[in-house]
């Protein structure tokens, strides 16, 4: 009897649940755009996440309170905790994809590689564009196969190319790379391996020696790797670690006598949190970033005046204002806002749905003048997306740690994207074949 009772209870609960899930009557649509925030404030990566969300929320607040929304359309947002996992990321996406109280979702930022991969197909089916800045599927650059994926600004391929361009600049030209040794010390994961393809191609093209040295997760002991580095005597080390493995790498390099000025960190090894624990060993460390640190950009003055000084900031620790992660939040939010603006130019000054903002993203053209107008000049590179090119920029700045803050030492270093495009198209072709996707014709889309 007890088991039958249990089942009855289960049925009743299920029926209740299903009833609850039925969509309520649609309210009159407000003049608001919903901005879902998939955040991670707990878990292993919380410390890097928290300043990012502060940057995003501060910018959204700034748009709402100072600029009166995007052409009068106010932004509303709500958070959902993903813990940087795919499962929670899916749950958040499903919770948010139909909007909030009638305010539609224009773009979705999964904020985490596992969720980005898991949502790629779902978002395409729901016609909601995913923006992944500095992570996500590299081959999604090919918008003909991935219409709703936007790995904007700097994919891992472009990052590899930008590093080589920067080294060439230091060595005195691309022709000087011949015979040089460039070692990549990478986190042995999908993320770490992603640059192997492009680096092999570039090594063949320019004739440098490409040395790959893996660091197993989590990477808090790297003597073996840096002994290997010392034996190989590379001219440069490209450091593609993340989390705890970055400060350990810098400290171990110092212990083995490898000059820190010859180590170039990648986008996920370029934050204040990566170098602060290294103490004096990190002084002189170089890092590549599409959103440099610093609080002197135009937008920072505005946010300081209108948000920070009025106590409306989401930032707990004011010292993080202008940190690399805070600035990445600003840049992420700005891209989304500008995409909506571009969509509004065509569809009218009203809240947009996913497909309309995809159009906006594919016609996004943030040039220098626009960057100056929104106060992001220097913080963000000019970005121009199209149907076939969902990456746009492909440039990074190189910053150097002076022991207490990051100093920018270059302007934008542009990746050689033409050389890498065939690699991307081959990968996206494989994906299209695997999934049976017929690539859309980008010429028709204007």
């Amino acid at each position: 009897m007890s088991s039958s009772l249990k089942r009855k209870l289960a049925v009743a609960l299920l029926a209740l649940g299903v009833h609850h899930a039925l969509p309520g009557s649609a309210l009159a649509a407000p003049n608001e755009q919903f901005f879902p925030l998939a955040t991670y404030r707990v878990g292993a990566y919380a410390s890097s996440g928290i300043p990012v969300w502060a940057g995003m929320i501060d910018y959204l607040r700034y748009i709402n309170e100072v600029e009166g929304g995007i052409n009068g359309v106010k932004l509303v947002w709500q958070e959902c905790e993903t813990e940087w996992t795919a499962e929670k990321g899916i749950e958040c996406y499903e919770r948010f994809k139909n909007g909030l109280d009638g305010a539609p979702v224009a773009v979705y930022q999964p904020n985490g590689a596992p969720a980005a991969y898991a949502l790629a197909d779902k978002a395409a089916a729901d016609k909601i564009p995913l923006i992944t800045l500095g992570y996500g599927r590299t081959e999604a650059t090919d918008g003909s196969v991935f219409p709703y994926n936007f790995p904007v600004m700097l994919t891992f391929y472009s990052e590899a190319s930008a590093v080589i361009e920067y080294i060439a600049r230091r060595e005195g030209g691309l022709d000087k790379l011949k015979g040089k040794k460039i070692a990549t010390v990478y986190h042995d994961s999908a993320y770490g391996r992603e640059t192997q393809g492009p680096l092999a191609l570039l090594a063949e093209k320019y004739g440098f020696e490409n040395i790959q040295i893996p660091v197993a997760d989590p990477g808090n002991e790297q003597s073996a790797q840096w002994r290997q580095v010392r034996q190989a005597k590379p001219d440069w080390v490209f450091l593609r670690t993340w989390g705890v493995s970055t400060p350990v790498a810098i400290k171990t390099a110092a212990r083995f006598g490898f000059p820190v000025e010859r180590i170039i960190g990648d986008i996920w090894a370029s934050s204040d949190e990566d170098v602060l624990p290294t103490g004096p060993a990190g002084k002189g460390y170089l890092a590549l970033t599409p959103y440099p640190g610093g609080a002197d950009f135009e937008i920072h003055k505005k946010i300081k005046e209108h948000i920070l000084d009025k106590g409306k900031s989401d930032l707990k620790d004011p010292k993080s204002f202008g940190s690399v992660y805070y600035n990445s939040g600003l840049v992420n939010a700005a891209i989304a806002v500008e995409a909506i603006r571009a969509g509004q130019a065509r569809f009218g000054k009203r809240p947009l749905d996913g497909d309309e903002s995809r159009w906006g993203l594919e016609h996004l053209d943030i040039d220098d003048a626009r960057l100056k107008a929104i106060g992001f000049h220097g913080l963000m590179q000019p970005l121009r997306l199209s149907c076939s090119d969902h990456e746009g920029g492909g440039a990074a700045k190189v910053q150097q740690w002076d022991g207490s803050s990051w100093k920018l030492i270059t302007d934008w270093v542009q990746a050689d994207r033409q050389t890498l495009r065939p690699l991307i198209e081959a990968k996206s072709g494989v994906y299209a074949k695997e999934k049976g996707i017929a690539p859309r014709d980008c010429r028709a889309d204007g």
Binding site: L5, A86, I90, A120, Y431
Partner: protein, 352 residues
């Protein structure tokens, strides 16, 4: 099979030892699950709640066969899920025209073979020592699926993605289709498991669990049955892994099947109830649904007023406290708690 010697039948004496009742509650539950839910449920319920709940239940069932029924502790469950996922993916990719059910079964079979290999140490070692070898399996398998690009078709990011989900020409890509695929697999495999544990195999497993020396004395080939338990358990886990990758996430990498997933499945069976089939479903509901419920409640009650990070941590604390409370209340799992509750309700309002 042993034959039961019933006393010579008298007129009117029942031949069956147990009264057979039509399983109406089960039929209603299945009817609701197969018809009503896909018809009424929206994407959020199907994609974010019911599909992961069912897959985790299946994974719990797989581990329960090994740990709850045969007494072999394992913390490598997610490793075998990974084998199932990558093997099904490889089969669909490299064997053209292979139907989906065969790919899932094939993935399960390959996982079973791998499980058989990692079950060999159980001949000699038991308890905590065996647990450590399964831990090795977990890390080894995770490493294999990161190290060799062949397994993920040389994708730049090391992830596999769900191929076309088709069954007899029907496209299962919509949430309802994926839900029905998962539900069908779970129903079928649960039915098999129920019968398996009631059969001689199941009784032998339980004999080994209760005391393997005694089991050997009465003539049960202990080593063989332990390995069989590893293989069957890995088959279930393999199918669950493939469903996790294809029907739920739509993509997977070795990282989707890390040690945390193994612990999650172990918690499901500990909290749900070891040696219970229904316990897996209760445990999976507790582990996967309760945090969502807490999150919704937290968001609804306090969202916007309390610091978002604190709110998240608060939910973790409540969840942890609930786990401890339930385990203190009933160490045999939630299923036992529910059974006791049912017994009490039957006698209500009298006390016993």
């Amino acid at each position: 099979m042993t034959t039961t010697h019933l006393p010579a039948s008298h007129d009117g004496a029942p031949l069956e030892l147990q009264e057979r009742r039509a399983p109406w509650p089960l039929a209603i539950l299945l009817a609701v699950a197969f018809v009503l839910v896909p018809w009424l449920g929206d994407d959020y319920w199907l994609n974010a709640i019911l599909i992961p709940f069912l897959v985790l239940s299946l994974a719990g069932l797989g581990l329960n066969l090994l740990t709850g029924y045969t007494g072999q502790t394992s913390v490598g469950a997610a490793g075998f899920m990974a084998v199932g996922a990558f093997a099904s993916y490889g089969l669909l990719l490299r064997v053209p025209g292979l139907p989906l059910p065969l790919a899932l079964a094939g993935g399960g079979a390959i996982a079973a073979a791998v499980g058989l290999v990692f079950g060999i140490p159980s001949n000699r070692i038991k308890g905590f020592y065996l647990m450590v070898t399964t831990l090795a399996a977990q890390f080894f398998l995770e490493w294999v699926f990161t190290k060799f690009p062949w397994f993920y078709n040389h994708a730049s990011s090391g992830t596999i993605s769900a191929p076309r989900l088709e069954l007899f020409g029907l496209d299962l890509h919509a949430p309802a289709g994926r839900y029905l695929l998962v539900l069908g697999c779970v129903t079928l495999l649960t039915w098999v498991a129920v019968n398996l544990v009631r059969s001689q195999i199941g009784r032998n497993w339980m004999a080994i669990r209760d005391m393997d020396t005694a089991a050997a004395v009465i003539g049960i080939p202990v080593d063989g049955y332990k390995r069989l338990a590893f293989a069957v358990s890995s088959f279930y886990l393999g199918v669950a892994g493939a469903l996790w990758a294809f029907a739920y996430l739509g993509t997977a990498s070795a990282g989707s099947f890390d040690i945390n997933r193994s612990f999650q499945i172990l918690f499901i069976i500990i909290i749900g109830g070891m040696g219970s089939i229904a316990g897996n479903f209760v445990g999976a509901a507790f582990i996967s649904l309760l945090p969502l419920l807490l999150n919704q409640i937290g968001q609804g009650l306090l969202g916007g007023n309390v610091d978002a990070g604190q709110l998240q941590n608060l939910q973790k604390i409540i969840f942890g406290v609930l786990i401890i409370w339930f385990l203190v209340k009933e160490p045999e799992g939630l299923i036992r708690l529910l059974a006791n509750l049912g017994e009490r309700l039957k006698a209500w309002p009298l006390r016993f």
